[in-house]
């Protein structure tokens, strides 16, 4: 069923079909409409979810953690400063292995205050232990919200999953989105199976207990095992999703015209759509260029990225956030992935689009056209669209 809807509505529709037991959420631009749509579903009786309009994002995720530990399927959504406020408990959700799925409407972090898109919020949660997926379109945001639920709840994983969608660019723009029939979506997501729930009073358990130097390390290693399981589960879930939807997401990233390319961009989120146009323009002029767009960012699929980029002459990695004092986080991921190779492409790192600064096709064309002139990988940031 194809509908013209915003990214907000696409995420809210996926949530309606998933029908979590609890949604705890606090308003923040540009996420608020996800909560508003969901509130309508709750109050119109379309879902049996308990909606808790809490007093802050910290409370939102805390309530989700409580509900998840009690044995419920729970979801939330946030953005920017809201993510920053709840990061304390995001680490706890991951450490407790709670499968909470959260939409993150990507928005720049203060200061200065800004409401528009960049990826500084997602980067803040980079090391939290949450799985992170990036969507290029409202369609991908819908599809990956459904898939995220299966990934999070897989017993090999049991981790929170963040589905990133670019604030305003995706959240507020109306796009055609193919929605699954409710029964199909519900069957795909499946019944939630709680693990050691607090509400199982016949089998009392303690959640969140102390672990000092005696066990902390082993527990964190076990958490990493959950992360290590994600790639295999991710591919399985993509295959299962293709069977019910006909939409084939194959792999950890989209490799757009990459197989025979000499030069390429690596970019997260909606900018990939712009980058495809740039790639097409240069292909029409005879330059062999391509694009790698990660869907899965955490865990980072290093070996697969290395394999996909190994044959290139040069690659520009685009980060939509600073990791102040060092290279961009995505660049560092790609550089680490390529390091074990004997022959690797030249790498450059661009910072772009901060605080909603527009990124255009000509800018990406220029970045690709400059790649053949770059002689070696340098430890230096470059910028797109910055006035200096």
């Amino acid at each position: 069923m194809r509908k013209a809807i915003t990214g907000h509505k696409a995420v809210a529709e996926a949530m309606r079909q998933i029908e979590p037991d609890v949604v705890a959420v606090y308003p923040i631009t540009p996420q608020s409409e996800i909560a508003e749509y969901y509130a309508d579903y709750v109050h119109n009786g379309l879902v049996r979810t308990e909606l808790i309009p809490v007093e802050s994002e910290h409370s939102a995720l805390s309530a989700c953690i409580g509900a998840a530990a009690a044995g419920g399927r729970v979801m939330t959504a946030t953005s920017s400063q809201g993510l920053a406020l709840l990061v304390e408990v995001l680490y706890i959700a991951a450490g407790l292995r709670l499968p909470i799925v959260m939409a993150l409407a990507n928005r720049a972090l203060s200061a200065p205050i800004n409401i528009h898109c960049d990826h500084s919020d997602a980067y803040l949660a980079r090391d939290s232990g949450a799985v992170q997926i990036f969507a290029e379109s409202a369609q991908e945001a819908y599809d990956y919200t459904l898939m995220a639920q299966r990934i999070a709840e897989d017993m090999r994983v049991r981790l929170p999953v963040i589905v990133n969608l670019d604030g305003f660019t995706l959240t507020h723009t109306v796009q055609p989105v193919d929605l699954l029939e409710d029964e199909v979506a519900k069957k795909f997501v499946g019944e939630f199976k709680p693990f050691a729930p607090l509400l199982d009073v016949e089998h009392p358990v303690t959640w969140g207990a102390f672990a000092m130097s005696d066990y902390y390390f082993e527990l964190k290693r076990a958490q990493e095992a959950g992360m290590e399981a994600v790639p295999a589960v991710f591919l399985e879930v993509q295959r299962a999703f293709a069977e019910v939807s006909g939409r084939r997401y194959e792999g950890f990233f989209e490799a757009y015209k990459l197989a025979d390319a000499e030069y390429a961009l690596v970019v997260l989120g909606s900018t990939a759509g712009t980058a495809k146009v740039a790639v097409d323009e240069l292909r029409a002029r005879g330059m062999k260029v391509g694009l790698l767009k990660p869907w899965l960012w955490r865990p980072f699929p290093g070996p697969a990225v290395a394999e996909a980029l190994a044959h290139l002459k040069a690659v520009a990695v685009l980060d939509r956030a600073f990791s102040f004092g060092t290279m961009g986080a995505l660049y560092e991921d790609v550089a680490s992935a390529l390091y074990p190779l004997e022959k690797r492409p030249i790498l450059v790192n661009y910072i772009y689009g901060l605080g909603g600064r527009d990124i255009t096709v000509p800018q990406l064309v220029q970045a690709l056209e400059e790649l053949p002139k770059i002689r070696r990988t340098e430890w230096a940031l470059r910028y797109i669209g910055l006035r200096e």
Partner: protein, 288 residues
């Protein structure tokens, strides 16, 4: 790109410029508030109060949080700070402790001060921190599109309570009084002069002071609750408000369609945090 120098304060020309313009960063105007919103009246009353007090602007600092009311800080030609959501009071506390001679005023909204920042409010009141807190209460999160907040009355419709709120709201007057505020008043934006008087009293009162300003939000709260335009909300205030000074704060609940109290509820003196701190420092042999 060359950096533009800050514009000089406009020369005050009687009868040509608005008398409040000297308090405003006119280059930031027009403001973002919707037509019919109560924030303009609240800000005007605040500036008239500053005029009346006659303080040197260099001794006044205004701190705001996030939301429509949070925009006030950006419009004032004063030392101002626009904090993250909910953190205006801790910032103001730090400011006051670092520069006790400053008049430190928090100007923010109900969602900012009492949901995400609620903890800070009760502790600043408990300590009797010498700051004034002005809360423009429009009963919802206006900036983000009109969601349910901590002051949304029972039964009121918001974007996250489309069939009416069923949660108990805060009675802010009672909350402030119980947490230890030494001055507590409530006004509506219908009563600009009474509001100005309450603000003058609150700003010049020693200790933690609190003024709740009930304000229309026709775009979000008013529209969803069929309250009409901003002017209709003011008519509602006129018909429902009961002016009563010295009333029991417990009686200051607000329910749709019911009379509600405005006036001065608390006006007491007790030692401020800084006075107690200095006394303790002297007691243990310090300078204070």
């Amino acid at each position: 790109m060359p950096v533009r120098a800050a514009r000089a304060a406009p020369e005050f020309v009687p009868r040509v410029r608005h008398p409040l313009e000297r308090w405003l960063r006119t280059d930031r105007l027009p403001h973002i508030w919707c037509s019919g919103c109560g924030l303009g009246t609240a800000l005007s009353a605040f500036l008239y109060a500053l005029d009346e007090l006659g303080w040197d602007p260099d001794t006044v600092a205004v701190v705001s949080g996030i939301g429509c009311a949070g925009r006030v800080a950006g419009y004032l030609r004063l030392d101002t700070y626009h904090t993250t959501h909910g953190r205006a009071i801790p910032f103001a506390t730090g400011l006051k402790l670092a520069k006790p001679d400053l008049h430190v005023i928090v100007f923010s909204g109900d969602g900012d001060l009492f949901a995400i920042g609620g903890n800070h409010f009760i502790h600043a009141a408990r300590r009797n921190m010498d700051i004034a807190v002005i809360c423009v209460n429009n009963f919802n999160y206006g900036m983000t599109g009109g969601q349910l907040g901590p002051t949304t009355p029972v039964g009121a419709r918001t974007t996250t309570s489309p069939f009416g709120n069923f949660e108990h709201p805060f009675n802010l007057v009672h909350l402030a009084a119980s947490a230890g505020a030494t001055y507590v008043a409530r006004c509506t934006t219908l009563d600009g002069r009474r509001l100005q008087k309450a603000l003058v009293e609150a700003l010049s009162h020693k200790g933690f002071t609190f003024v709740e300003i009930l304000a229309p939000c026709p775009t979000n709260y008013g529209r969803r609750n069929r309250l009409g335009e901003g002017l209709d909300e003011l008519r509602y205030y006129r018909e429902h408000m009961v002016i009563k000074h010295g009333a029991d704060p417990k009686e200051a609940d607000i329910a749709p369609g019911k009379p509600f109290l405005v006036g001065k509820f608390v006006d007491i003196q007790k030692p401020t945090y800084l006075e107690l701190y200095q006394a303790k420092a002297r007691e243990i042999g310090g300078e204070g």
